[in-house]
Structure formats: C-alpha cells, structure tokens
Symmetry: C2
Subunit: 200 residues, 2 copies
C-alpha cells in the first residue's frame, strides 16, 4: 500500500499557533488568512488536518484548557499548603499568565466568551466555551464546600458566593491585563483582597 507525501508541518505546533491567534483576535476576528499565516501552512492543509475554522477553534480551545488552564487548577489542591496560600498561588499563577509577553494579554476564554452574546458563534464553538465557563465556578464552589481547612474556617457556608467572588476577580484581572496593566499592580490587588478574605 503506497502511502504518500509526508506532512511538512507538526500538527501540535500549528495548533498552538492557532491558539495564539484566537487568543489575540477571538473567534470572529481571526480570519483564515491570520490563522494559516501564523500556522505556517495554507488553507487546504488546514482543512485536511483540522476540518474547518470551527473545528480548529474547538481543538485550539481544548488545547488551551488542557495546557494553560488545568495547571493553575492543580495549585488549588496542592498538599501541605494552607488554604489561603493555595488560593493565592492559584490566582497569582493565573495573573502571571494573563500578563505574560509570549502571547496576547488577558484570558483566551474570557475573550471568546464575550463574543457569544453576538449570536455569530457556531454551535460547537459555543458549547465548549459555555462548558469551559462553568467549570471554574463548579470547581471553586466544591473547593469551598469540601476542603477541610475551608470548612474549619467556616468558608463552606457561602461556598457558591465565595467561589463566584474568586472567579469575578480573576475575570477582572483578565480584562485589566488585556488593557495592558502591569502584572505587579494586579498582584497587589489580589494580595489586598485575599488578605481581607473574611470572605463572608
């Protein structure tokens, strides 16, 4: 069975490039020209490797979740670290990424989720974005509800509200980071608010 010409690009490398473009321009704003140029391939290669723009976006988004988002989440459950410190490590780690110079500022997901209201986002893209938005909410709530230390501090009483406060703050830093604010100033805000975390 003769099997043909070799692929001249690495799919994973190309996917990371696509992720960077969506991170910068969102779903609608990213054109196939933007994508294929930065991926270093041309349209037919992209379509044969990923399907279409929507499928590429879904894969790029999943790649973001797996490689960028998940590592921050694991900091929340690190053993031998105090509850508040875990929370702080988690948030600082996220803020650091939001301000990193290697890619677009802010949060890939927050940016693309803001496009959902337009009604111009295709179905599967919408689905993964909505799921990704619910995930941290649930995770924070469960953390506040089940963590032994959090229970001892009485933070489990308002687990959901406390979780939403954390999430709200991080969405705020994402937005501020996208506007180009310094990392140090966001860290200072996080520090302040964590310090006063009665939370209630």
């Amino acid at each position: 069975m003769a099997s043909g010409r070799k692929k001249s690009f690495d799919e994973n490398t190309a996917l990371n490039a696509a992720m960077a473009v969506f991170w910068q321009k969102g779903y609608v704003g990213a054109t196939l020209m933007d994508l294929t140029t930065r991926m270093g391939i041309n349209k037919p290669s992209m379509y044969s490797a990923f399907g279409n723009k929507e499928a590429l976006f879904v894969k790029a988004t999943q790649c973001y979740i797996d490689t960028k988002m998940t590592p921050h989440m694991e900091l929340l459950f690190e053993e031998g670290v105090a509850f508040k410190q875990r929370l702080k490590n988690h948030m600082m780690s996220i803020v650091s990424m939001q301000c990193a110079p290697e890619h677009a500022k802010g949060c890939y997901l927050a940016l693309c989720q803001s496009e959902l209201v337009s009604g111009d986002i295709p179905e599967q893209a919408e689905q993964i974005l909505k799921e990704a938005d619910l995930m941290p909410s649930k995770l924070y709530t469960e953390l506040f509800k089940n963590d032994a230390e959090a229970i001892a501090l009485g933070l489990n009483k308002n687990a959901e509200a406390n979780g939403l406060s954390i999430y709200t703050l991080l969405k705020g830093t994402a937005s501020m980071a996208r506007s180009g604010i310094d990392k140090s100033q966001l860290e200072y805000s996080i520090d302040s608010i964590i310090a006063g975390i009665s939370i209630h």
Copy 2:
C-alpha cells in the same frame, strides 16, 4: 433658497440603536447590515448622517460615556453620603446596568477595549477607547487621594492601588454579567468585598 426633503429618522434615536449593536457585537463584529437594520435606515442615510462606520462608532461610544457611564460616576461624589456607601452605590449601579435586560449584558467599553489587542481597530476608535479606559482609573485614584473621609480612613496611602482594585472588580462583574450570571450574585460579591475593605 429651496431646502429639501425632511430627514425621516431621528439622529439620536438612530445613534442609540447603533450603540446597542456595538454593545452586543463589538466594533469588528458589528456589520453595516446589523447597524443600519437596527437603526431603521439604509446605508447612504447612515453615511450622510454619521460619516462612516468608524465615525459612527466614535459617536456611539461618546454617547455611551455621556449617558451610561457618567451618571454612575456622579454617585461617587454625592454629598451627605458616607464614603463606603458612595462606593457601594456606585458599584451597585454599574452592576445593575451590566445585568439589565434592555440591552446586551456586560460593559460596552470593556467589550470593545478587548478588541484593541487584535490590531484591527482604526485609529480614532482606538483613541477614544483608550481614553475611556484611563478615565475611571484616574477618577478612583483621585477619589481615594482627595476625599476627606478616605483620608481619615487612611485609604489615601494606597490611592492608586485601591482605585485599581475597584476597577478590576467592576471589570470582573462586567465579564461575569456578559456570561449571563444573575445580578443578585454579583451584588453579593460586591457586598462581601466592600465589607472587607480594609482595603490596605
């Protein structure tokens, strides 16, 4: 001097409709079709009345600042109201707008500012968006720095950091609101964080 046919639409009404479209879709996402349809006019009428898409956007944005943003700012300086209460009134008023059902959820400015990173926003649109982003930062900082009550509370020591914390939180509620969260839950977050406002 004969002077012709009457305009069949009200410019201000049309401008408000355009504002609603940009609020929903951002600058790039809002097409002339979207705009003219919701404005109830056709393209030549739009171009003769407003210039082009960019000029329409600048006017719509200025309209947003004047009619939507400014009123919230005045709550910060209301006489006979305690400092923390003014801050709370201000934030609650903004959150209420971010969740209002009459128009798109979230913040018009935060949405369009997030498009700046793409590099696809024309010059004058970019300028007004950047100015509008700096304004609240300055205003909060000055409030913390100069308000008699804030000085008495020692909040003037970290005026800039405190101001940025407020702004960060409100950008967060804007993002959460856009995702469709309930107003009551955001109010709860604001309440909690204002309560613990040592701020430091």
